[in-house]
Amino acid sequence: MTTYIVRRALIMIPTLIGMTFLLFMLISLAPGDFSMALSVSGGGQMEASSRAATIAYYEDRYGLNDPIIVQYGRWLGRISPLKFGVRDQRTDKGELVRPPREVRKPALWKLFIDDLPNPPPPDLEAFAPGQEPARVYRLSANDYARTRTTYLSAATRFEVEAGRVLREQSLDKFVADDGRLDGAKPAGFEGFLFTTQRLPSEAVEALKADPDVERTFGAAVTAYTNALASRNRIAASFATKPHPEAGMPLIPRLVWLGKPDFGISVSRSRPVGALIAEALPVTLLLNAIAVPIIYFVAIPSGMLAAVRQGTWFDIASGALFVALWSVPIVWACVLALGYLANETTGLGLFPVIGLHSDDADAMRFLPSFAGGWRAGFLLDTLHHCVLPVACLTYAGFAVLSKQTRAAMLDNFNADYVRTAKAKGVSEKDVIFRHVFRNSLLPLITMFVTIFPAMLGGSVIVERVFSVPGMGSLLIDAIYLRDREVLLANAAIVGMVNMFALLLADVLYAVADPRISYK
């Protein structure tokens, strides 16, 4: 059994990689990326050149100007607990400090000069005399950020000028919508492997002859040299280990163990891990109430329906559950809001939005009677949960109840049930000890399908009731093309799914001695 579990756990790794790879490709190859979403949401007002600079800045910041396969590898490296190369460092505030990134060379530089200038070797003592390492690192980090940004805008200006010249040569296919050179960034399937394209010789001549291109190229090279010098400095500073190293080394300088890092959300500029840590408990709270309700209602009623097959209870419960199951969730949510929650159109019995009242922070946890009735945090939260939980549960009874009923009926006529009766086992023990015990397998399967859905959260319910759970997080991320959040969500849901399947297999073996994994 243990061997089986270990083997299954190991198989999860390639499965997870395959799954996230597919999703990564899907997101990357879908038209439009988050910078487009950004320009739609306000970037549209910008002047073309500064918009290009903004986009270039974001591309650089999130590494979007690398080939997709490189981007995926980087993402995988971040979420993997097993990491390779130089270890990250962690400041005393808990922030992760990564080794400094490379500076990308200006586009088409080989057309203009034979060799890019080399900056002098870094001299930390001269840069920040007498400072302690952490401070030196911060100063050089600030400097690197500034020089890198300067270089990015200089390079963008050069690319926009070069793009103008190529357009004049009717070579629009080398120019992106934002005016920069296309091929400097990956786009579509071409971007999958190639980042530069070959230019025809007349276009090269025109580029070399244009004075604006030459001027901006010169500025870009200067900025590049500065950025490279700054980069060398911060690399030297990082090498002095200004902060304690993160994680645990496995093979020195090669492999180490670290926390999976889901990156920074593009749309909210916050670590994805923190966003999920906020949203997950909300969804778990709703489902921790909803799922037991589903099970405690559906299984006993399914059992009773099977025991009293054909009676009014069987028919009525079946009809009611199927009727509930057929009610569209959106409609049910809106009706619940309008008739039960809204004070003007309905009864106003329940809160309209959220999981807590505005003054929830000031509440005690438990209700108090001293000096008048106060509901307290617990009851307040439960009060807010009523409608969302109701909308999450009502459709779930039918399937589980019917499954239980069918499984029970299958076993009622089994020979071993007759044997048990012939032994003199009471009706109750026949149902619980013999029939129900044998009906567990389909219920385990059901449990496994429900379990990952618990974490995914119900998008509709969370949206309608403005509950900030995993469903809300996911739908926002989809709207804003927040790749990091989407990928993190997929990875987590995928992992939970796989663990749920493994759990089901283990439970099968526990429930049915005929199943063994040897």
Binding site: A414, Y416, R418, T419, A422, K423, H434, R437, N438, P513
Partner: protein, 378 residues
């Protein structure tokens, strides 16, 4: 040759006590709801008697009502769709004679597995797959005997070794799927016998097993019957099994008893054409024949029905596919056209209630015969 039956022996006082039978089925009728159309009469006026240490073989083809009769003794007939139309099953229980059909669920549960145990045809599916065989044997013990868990465990071990399961201490923790078919049937028997029942209903216990295992299981039943002072009702359609194991044979057809006699008498002198057909259709080792006689050939032969002693007086074997005789004096009661006639002392045949037997009263056929006894006296 007499055609007059002795005074009917039935009622509560007819069972139990020295020399009296342990169970007596009297005029049992069970029918099932067909959903649409008339109810199906599975058993109609069945009568039989079982004595302690006796093996009563109930023989007949599929659907003739032999299993329903046995299931009725434990009220295991699913109701609905089943229904006990009439009749009694008198049984000599610890609290005196009782009618098994009239017992409440609670009373019935204390009989099931305790006084009367049953083993079934399908050893593959008759054990619960999710419990160890030990659990299932102990369940029966704990239900009926006031013993601790430890004692029940020891009893289960004992029961398993009694039925010849090797290494019971290890096997008690095994699950049914880890046993072969024959071993599973042994487990079923161990389970049935763990509470030392006085009557064992064995519903085709060896049918699903291959021949050598079949023989082992039947030998085991004979041995246990002798050591436990137990009566066995052996339901089978295998006449070889009957000849080997039975003391008394009850041949059933279409829900009624067509012939009832000791095993020697029945095989030596079958009187009902159906029984003759059954016996004729068995291949015999020392005879070389092109083809076997079928039952149909026998029962389709009108002359066969005139061979019954008393045929000249108008006693005709009952046969559902025949038109009733002209002188039928059917009584105004269910199965009133049929009568179990003691054609010869200790040999009953189901006949039409014609003029000749119109005023005869029948009780259950009653034979205390045991092969073992006759062998020791012989």
């Amino acid at each position: 040759m007499t055609t007059t039956a002795p005074a009917p022996t039935t009622g509560p006082s007819s069972v139990g006590g020295e020399g009296l039978p342990i169970a007596r089925v009297d005029n049992l009728a069970v029918s099932f709801d067909n959903g649409r159309g008339p109810r199906i009469q599975a058993v109609d006026g069945v009568r039989m008697t079982i004595y302690p240490r006796q093996t009563l073989a109930v023989v007949g083809e599929s659907g003739c009502g032999k299993s329903v009769t046995a299931m009725s003794m434990l009220q295991l007939v699913p109701r609905p769709p089943g229904r006990f139309d009439r009749g009694n099953i008198w049984f000599d229980s610890a609290e005196g004679p009782v009618d098994l059909l009239k017992l409440s669920n609670r009373q019935m549960r204390s009989v099931r597995g305790n006084d009367i145990a049953m083993i079934f045809q399908e050893p593959m599916t008759s054990l619960n797959p999710v419990y160890t065989v030990g659990d299932q044997i102990m369940e029966a013990v704990l239900l009926h005997q006031d013993v601790s868990h430890k004692e029940a465990y020891d009893l289960a071990i004992k029961a398993m070794s009694d039925v010849g399961i090797p290494e019971p201490h290890q096997r008690i923790k095994a699950y049914p799927h880890q046993f072969s078919g024959g071993m599973r049937q042994r487990v079923m028997i161990a389970m049935a016998l763990a509470c030392r029942p006085r009557l064992l209903l064995a519903d085709e216990p060896s049918t699903a097993l291959d021949v050598t295992i079949q023989a082992q299981i039947l030998e085991l039943l004979v041995e246990l019957k002798a050591t436990r002072d137990m009566a066995v009702m052996l339901i089978t359609h295998d006449l070889g099994v009957v000849a080997e194991n039975a003391d008394v044979v009850c041949v059933m057809y279409a829900g009624r008893v067509v012939e009832y006699a000791t095993v020697f008498e029945l095989f030596a002198d079958p009187m009902h054409p159906y029984t003759r057909g059954l016996l004729a259709s068995i291949p015999k080792l020392h005879e070389r024949t092109e083809r076997l006689v079928t039952i149909k050939e026998v029962v389709d032969n009108e002359a066969e029905f005139r061979k019954l002693p008393g045929a000249d007086k108008g006693v005709r074997p009952w046969w559902p596919w025949h038109d009733a005789p002209a002188d039928l004096k059917a009584r105004d009661e269910p199965a009133g056209d049929y009568y179990l006639q003691e054609v010869r002392p200790g040999h009953w045949v189901g006949v039409w209630r014609t003029e000749a037997v119109a005023d005869h009263e029948s009780g259950p056929p009653d034979l205390a015969f045991r092969k073992v006894d006759s062998e020791t006296t012989a």
